[in-house]
Assembly symmetry: C2
């Protein structure tokens, strides 16, 4: 439980920063990217990007592999699954709201049909 | 987009702390709880709990209403929906893995049937 909690702490902490979320979103679209390619779209310097990559790595959200002078970064999405499972318990609130909306729409439709007769 | 990002920053930041997650989890089970009831299970002092409630309130994850001397805290789960929608894009990785597992299991089953003949 403690370890599970600590992993969730790290995962959510990694997701707090929009630059880190943008890096993860990019790695979701591309299967592996170099550090310099990842850094390009951002207005921050390479060392700042490296720090973000350290946080993502510590949280287990990316892996880095070095070949010659190029470091390739890849997504490791498993910890996000736990985060999503944690959030999932609140889903019933949204579906309850959707159920009420559906019931309302059906009621309006039935009314319209009645008037149409 | 900037506002959307800022809300996600706040939501994920609120979810980083295990005490705050425990408070949310409790409010998911109970429809409204007093501040003192919420504070009871924790080994921290009331002012510390109040600070956590401030963070949750700023992120829009709870509402507080006062009647006499009692403050009732209620869940306001909507921002977590956005957080979940953000995480959902990574779902295909997990389902891809599940598909591979299912294919493997089916292969094993077919083999076993062949041998059984």
């Amino acid at each position: 439980m403690v370890n599970y909690n600590r992993q969730l702490d790290r995962t959510f902490a990694a997701l707090v920063d929009p630059t880190r979320r943008a890096i993860l979103a990019r790695l979701e679209r591309e299967d592996g990217a170099s550090v310099s390619a990842l850094a390009k779209p951002f207005a921050i310097k390479l060392p700042a990007v490296m720090k973000h990559l350290d946080v993502l790595d510590d949280a287990g959200l990316i892996t880095r592999s070095k070949l010659g002078r190029t470091v390739t970064v890849r997504l490791s999405p498993e910890p996000m699954r736990e985060a999503m499972d944690w959030l999932r318990r609140y889903e019933r609130f949204w579906s309850a709201r959707l159920d009420r909306l559906a019931a309302y729409a059906e009621g309006k439709e039935a009314e319209a049909r009645k008037r149409g007769r």
